[in-house]
Every structure is written in structure tokens, then in C-alpha cells.
């Protein structure tokens, strides 16, 4: 998302909370959902946590004054909330282990009927599935930065903002995460070719 559109969005948020929030959901809903789906692996859970994220965002925006809303960087801010929601969810699950469901990758999503023919599709779906399962095998502190940087496509500055750390730390986390991912995918490193930290 470019600078100008971000500025328009924050301007709208400052003047008209409901209208701005609607735009926020429209523009960033996909990024938030993708992040949550790729870190937790379950479509229903990602949906629930996504709802929770936006509800928290709305509650926070109601309290913020117009100046603070104008100064916001919406995408990084929303993903920071999502990351917190996800962390809280993990903590709740660890305290109530009976509730911790087995992450199930939504195979229906992976098999969407898009342009490539059946053969490419099978290969693609297979690649996607392998990548997704490998991502889910990463430890949590590596998974979040890798997903933020390479799936959602944040800049390192934004990753650092979400993770509340220095930019250098964010880079190191992503790079370590990628290295771990490469190890997990050892025979199929081709999948990550061209992705440089």
C-alpha cells in the first residue's frame, strides 16, 4: 500500500471514525486474516482472531483523539494488534491445554480453481501445502516475523514496529526464521529461491 493511500485513510479516520474504520477493514482485512491464518494454521481460528483484532482496534480508535488517529500507521498498527491477539490466544491455550485444537490447514483453500491446469495446480497446491506445514513447524518467535515480512509483505521497519524491537533485531529474527524454514524444507529449497532476507 502506498504512502498517499495510507495518508488518505488516516485522514478519514481522524475526521470520521465509522467511515474510516470501514475503509480500514476493507483495505487491511485481507492482510490481517492472512497473517493470522499463516501463524495459526486454522481457518476458523483465524476468522475468530481476526474478528477479535478488528473489534479491539475499533475500541482503541474510539478512545484515541483525532490527532492520534491521524498519526497512525494503520497496517503496522493493525498487525501489531493481531500479533498480540495471537500471543494472548496462545497463552490461553497453553493454560487450558484441553482446548488447544490441532492446527488443520484448510485444504479447500489450497485447492482453489485458478488458471493453471490440473498438473500445475497439483504441484502448486502441493508446494503451498508443504510450505504452509513447514511454516507451522517453526517456533512461534520465528514464525511471526517470517510471516509478517514474507507472506504479508511488511517492510523491516513495520516488522520492527509490530514486534516492538529495533529494525536490526527484526532483520535478524526474519533471517533466522528463514534459515530454520530452509532446514525444514531441505530437499525442496527451490521453493525459497529468490527470497533473500
Amino acid at each position: 500500500m502506498d504512502e498517499k493511500a495510507e495518508r488518505q485513510l488516516t485522514e478519514l479516520l481522524a475526521t470520521n471514525l465509522d467511515g474510516g474504520f470501514t475503509e480500514l477493514v476493507r483495505v487491511h482485512g485481507r492482510a490481517v486474516y492472512t497473517f493470522l491464518l499463516r501463524v495459526c494454521g486454522s481457518a476458523t481460528e483465524a476468522d475468530d482472531l481476526g474478528q477479535d483484532t478488528f473489534l479491539r482496534a475499533y475500541t482503541a480508535l474510539q478512545v484515541y483523539g483525532p490527532e492520534r488517529r491521524r498519526a497512525l500507521r494503520p497496517r503496522a498498527w493493525l498487525l501489531a494488534i493481531a500479533a498480540n491477539v495471537w500471543r494472548n490466544h496462545l497463552r490461553t491455550c497453553s493454560r487450558r491445554p484441553a482446548l488447544a485444537g490441532v492446527p488443520v490447514e484448510d485444504t479447500a483453500e489450497a485447492r482453489s480453481d485458478h488458471r493453471p491446469g490440473p498438473a500445475e495446480l497439483a504441484a502448486l497446491a502441493d508446494d503451498r501445502r508443504r510450505l504452509v506445514t513447514a511454516l507451522l513447524k517453526l517456533p512461534e518467535h520465528h514464525r511471526t516475523p517470517v510471516v509478517l515480512r514474507h507472506v504479508v509483505g511488511l517492510s523491516y521497519r513495520e516488522v520492527a514496529e509490530v514486534q516492538q524491537c529495533a529494525v536490526g533485531t527484526a532483520k535478524a529474527q526474519v533471517s533466522r526464521g528463514l534459515r530454520a524454514l530452509r532446514r525444514l524444507l531441505e530437499p525442496e529449497t527451490a521453493l525459497l529461491e529468490g527470497v533473500t532476507p
Binding site: G19, T22, G29, G50, E109, H114, P116, R128, V151
Partner: protein, 264 residues
């Protein structure tokens, strides 16, 4: 009927291709739970038509915009277009505005409420006139101008602004000589829409080649637009071609009361 759940990055390998579409009603549920009033935003669905997918956005009261997917416009592009055109946010939803699916299936969208308030009075009158063209029939610019009570020069410009592709049937408008006036879409799209409605494109082209603008019947002495339901029932031996309304009037023919061609 629905074709939701397209993942835009699905074709790209690597982690960037793992972008996922949230469930269709994700955004709408968020806003409902947050308590944002429903009147402040529009929802849209992607519906399949004979010429490809059609995005249809609607407020709680009326359809506010529609655009075809043919020229590679994605959901995001449609959202941006809708925002630029109406100033309202369009959010993906799982349910179409009541009546839209039926209107698309039958081609009868006349009674569908469509919000034309962002347009000026002339454009509104022209677009309302275009909406009154029946399924499977064509009307010339002169006829639209007469029905709308405006100058014929204003018609093409107003039709080009059609905010609801397919639902406002601008593909049923022709120039006065019978050639299609595809002001709001590509000619190929227009041809596909016309063919899907059962308009015989070859017959239309043939009539145009012969310079026929109106068809009369020598048994009833009435003349019609050639695509009017009554004109299509005239058997070939009784068809009398006319190139102007004046010619028909001089021959002692009166205008059809159903398709109301121009009179002199």
C-alpha cells in the same frame, strides 16, 4: 452462481503466494459487531453472467454500482472504482442484494432499485430510458433521447457513464442507423451480452447492410423497430422495410404502440 474465494497470489510460488482471502462475510461481521450502521457502507458480491463475472455493490436500499470482470479488474480494483465513483466503501459479502440474481438470469432489471443520485438530471433521465428497453430488443439513440426528453447528442455521453454495467442495459442502445453504440463497454462484451439475450446479431447486421431501420407489416400497416417482439412475428412475405419514419408515415403506416418508434 457464486465464484468467491479467489486467492490473488495463488499463482505465485514461495511465501508471498500464501495470501488468503478471508471468508466472504468477514468484513461485514466485523462492522456489525463493532456497531457501524449498515447504511454507511455498501456490500458487494461477484456473480457469474454470460460474459464473465459481474461485481454488484448495493446499499441496504438499492444497487449502487456494478462492473464487469472482463478487463481483468479484480475485487480490489472494483472496490477502488466504487469508492472513486460513489464515495462509499464496498465490502465483500456473501449475499447478493435481493432481486439481483433473478434480474441477471432473466435480463429484466427494470424493477430493480438502482441508485442514480450521484448523476445529473439529464444523465438520470437517459439512464432511466435505457433501463426501459426490454430484454432482447435494441433501441436507437433518437428513441432514448425522445423517451428521456433530452437532446440526442447528450445520450452517448450519459450512457458512457453507466454506473451499473449489465443491470442498466446500455448494450441495447444503437445509433440511429442500427449499429450498436457500445459507449460503456468494449464492443466484444456488447456483442456477447446481446447474443446472450437472444438478439440475432446476423439479422441485425443484415438489416443494417440493407439500410433497414424500421420494419412494417403490410397486413396491419404498423411499423416497428426490427427487434420489437411484434416486428419479429411478421412473416417474410409481409415485411415492408423502411429507412426513415417519414418514409413509413408517407406510405400510410402508423407507429407501433408497444415499441413506440419515432414518428414524423
Amino acid at each position: 452462481m457464486r465464484s468467491d474465494h479467489e486467492a490473488p497470489g495463488a499463482a505465485r510460488p514461495g511465501p508471498a503466494g500464501l495470501t488468503a482471502e478471508p471468508p466472504a462475510d468477514f468484513a461485514v461481521r466485523v462492522l456489525r459487531r463493532a456497531g457501524v450502521p449498515r447504511e454507511t457502507y455498501d456490500t458487494y458480491v461477484r456473480l457469474d453472467t454470460a460474459v464473465g463475472a459481474l461485481f454488484v455493490a448495493a446499499s441496504p436500499e438499492a444497487v449502487t454500482g456494478a462492473a464487469l470482470d472482463t478487463d481483468g479488474s479484480t475485487a480490489t480494483a472494483f472496490e477502488e472504482l466504487h469508492r472513486a465513483r460513489t464515495g462509499r466503501s464496498a465490502l465483500r459479502s456473501a449475499r447478493a442484494f435481493p432481486g439481483v440474481v433473478t434480474a441477471l438470469r432473466t435480463g429484466r432489471a427494470r424493477r430493480l432499485p438502482i441508485d442514480l443520485s450521484p448523476h445529473g438530471p439529464v444523465e438520470r433521465a437517459v439512464l432511466e430510458a435505457v433501463r426501459s428497453v426490454p430484454v432482447g430488443q435494441l433501441r436507437p439513440v433518437g428513441w432514448i433521447a425522445q423517451e428521456a426528453g433530452t437532446a440526442p447528442e447528450a445520450v452517448a455521453g450519459a450512457v458512457a457513464q453507466n454506473p451499473a454495467a449489465v443491470l442498466i442495459p446500455s448494450h441495447r442502445v444503437t445509433y440511429d442507423d442500427g449499429t450498436p453504440c457500445d459507449a460503456a463497454h468494449l464492443p466484444d462484451t456488447g456483442d456477447a451480452l446481446r447474443a446472450a439475450e437472444g438478439i440475432d446479431l446476423r439479422r441485425v447486421a443484415e438489416l443494417h447492410r440493407r439500410g433497414v431501420v424500421f420494419l412494417g407489416s403490410d397486413t396491419t400497416r404498423i411499423y416497428c423497430h426490427p427487434t420489437c417482439a411484434h416486428a419479429r412475428r411478421i412473416t417474410p412475405p409481409h415485411q415492408v422495410p423502411f429507412s426513415t419514419a417519414r418514409e413509413a408515415g408517407l406510405a400510410g403506416y402508423r407507429a407501433c404502440r408497444s415499441c413506440r418508434p419515432l414518428t414524423v
